[in-house]
């Protein structure tokens, strides 16, 4: 019976139109998770990146400790811990909040290294010129060092954001209905189309990633106008 059923359905065309609403819902959730965790991770990256070159030992130690620990941590395990184990410490987060927190903390640690290393890569002469011009420490950072470092940060941050987008697929495990989750539901309902559904899923992620890399390229061009 099942055999007959599936061979009968095989003769139909791919029911793409029936899939679109679910895939669209999933895409919106995926973009939402990606944008929110991008904001969290960028803030953490800047804070920890600047913190790790702070003149205060305490701030430096804290920033470096954060980077070391969260880079060594497996994101999926962290996500499980935040979503399933934290409620036992009386911290209950929604699926979306747990996802954003876990991804943000993880990606932020990688971002902090980008911020730190690009600032370190600005030549020493620029620091010295700032001192010679009698600019205060903060002004030197904000007006001289950071604009140059920012231009260098864009390509690695673009790659990092693609990594972030890819890692949003892990929210499937805590049953947040993102693209991957919706595709798995589709697969249950349209079993014989499994290869097509996953192929389509890969394609959607590829388009989203390309969007990030194009944005990064445009941003880089804009930030290097002064060169």
């Amino acid at each position: 019976m099942l055999q007959l059923n599936s061979s009968a359905r095989l003769e139909m065309n791919m029911p793409l139109l029936e899939w679109l609403p679910l895939l669209l819902d999933g895409t919106i959730i995926t973009i939402q998770v990606a944008l929110l965790s991008a904001i969290v991770s960028l803030l953490l990256a800047i804070a920890a990146g600047l913190g790790s070159i702070s003149r205060y030992v305490f701030v430096r130690g804290f920033a470096k400790g954060y980077v070391e620990i969260f880079r060594a941590c497996s994101l999926l395990v962290l996500l499980f811990w935040v979503y399933f184990a934290l409620p036992f410490l009386d911290i209950e987060l929604s699926k979306l909040m747990a996802a954003v927190l876990a991804i943000g903390l993880n990606v932020g640690a990688y971002g902090a290294e980008i911020v730190r290393s690009t600032i370190a890569a600005v030549s020493k002469g620029q620091h010295e010129a700032g001192i010679a011009l009698n600019l205060s420490g903060n002004k030197r950072m904000v007006r001289i060092i950071l604009p140059q470092a920012a231009a260098r940060m864009i390509p690695p941050f673009g790659n990092l954001m693609i990594e972030l987008l890819k890692s949003t697929s892990l929210v499937y495990f805590i049953t947040l209905s993102d693209l991957t989750f919706e595709a798995m539901i589709l697969r249950n309902n349209y079993y014989i189309w499994t290869p097509h559904i996953f192929g389509l899923l890969l394609l959607i992620y590829f388009v989203l990633s390309s969007f990030i890399s194009v944005t990064a390229r445009l941003l880089e061009r804009k930030l290097t106008v002064w060169r």
Binding site: F80, F84, K166, T180, F198, L202, S209
Partner: protein, 226 residues
């Protein structure tokens, strides 16, 4: 809150799952080196269709999530071809393919760093293409990138829990099974988190040591390069 008796009960269970995680990570890493070299060499091919195809494949794999690739390999390949692979094999292949694309970038940078004179010398000595690659270029291109490869071993190790999606019984899935049997959530997930943290930190100390040793070798005072 934290029950030590339960923790002691859990340890042998995790000890059993740990080799699966480690095995998937090491085999995936080995395969990623193989794929990485293939992609890197194909990406430099003189024949443009090979060059473009290889680069397009690398770009596509790098831009899509490992989890979806794992699903595709595990659920679709048996339907498209008539052969099915175990969860472990599928996981290793997925890790190898996914990180092979990253590894190819690492190799590319290593190959690009070999001075042009070395290529010219190989041409002048009339070495075959095979010989040029195997005895001149790769022996100089690979050692400097070993620490970066080590970092990817750590990354691959941390990505192995993704394979629980296709029911590979590694550490995290073991923890999940324990949780649903005992209804105690905190200990299993915390222990797994700590295992990953400690092992990655140990690996990264190893990689840093390797990096230091290599940079000493690069120094003019530190003895000649082989």
């Amino acid at each position: 809150m934290w029950n030590w008796d339960y923790v002691i009960e859990l340890l042998p269970v995790f000890l059993k799952a740990f080799p699966v995680t480690l095995g998937a990570a090491f085999l995936g890493f080995t395969l990623s080196i193989v794929f990485g070299l293939l992609f890197a060499l194909a990406g430099r091919s003189a024949f443009w269709p090979i060059r473009w195809t290889s680069r397009a494949i690398v770009e596509f794999i790098r831009s899509t999530p490992l989890l979806v690739q794992v699903f595709f390999l595990y659920f679709s390949v048996p339907m498209l071809t008539s052969f099915a692979m175990s969860a472990f094999i599928t996981g290793v292949i997925a890790l190898g393919l996914h990180y092979g694309t990253y590894m190819s970038e690492v190799f590319r940078s290593g190959i690009d760093a070999v001075p042009r004179g070395q290529w010219e010398a190989a041409t002048a000595l009339h070495l075959s293409k095979r010989k040029t690659w195997l005895s001149v270029i790769l022996p100089q291109a690979l050692p400097p990138v070993v620490p970066v490869m080590g970092n990817y071993l750590i990354v691959i190790f941390k990505e192995t829990p993704t394979l629980m999606a296709i029911t590979l019984v590694e550490l995290l899935l073991t923890a999940k099974t324990e949780v649903s049997a005992s209804y105690r959530v905190f200990e299993p997930y915390t222990i797994v988190g700590l295992i990953f943290l400690v092992v990655s930190l140990i690996f990264s100390i190893g990689v840093r040591r390797l990096e230091n040793r290599l940079s000493q070798r690069e120094n003019p005072g530190g003895g000649g390069k082989r």
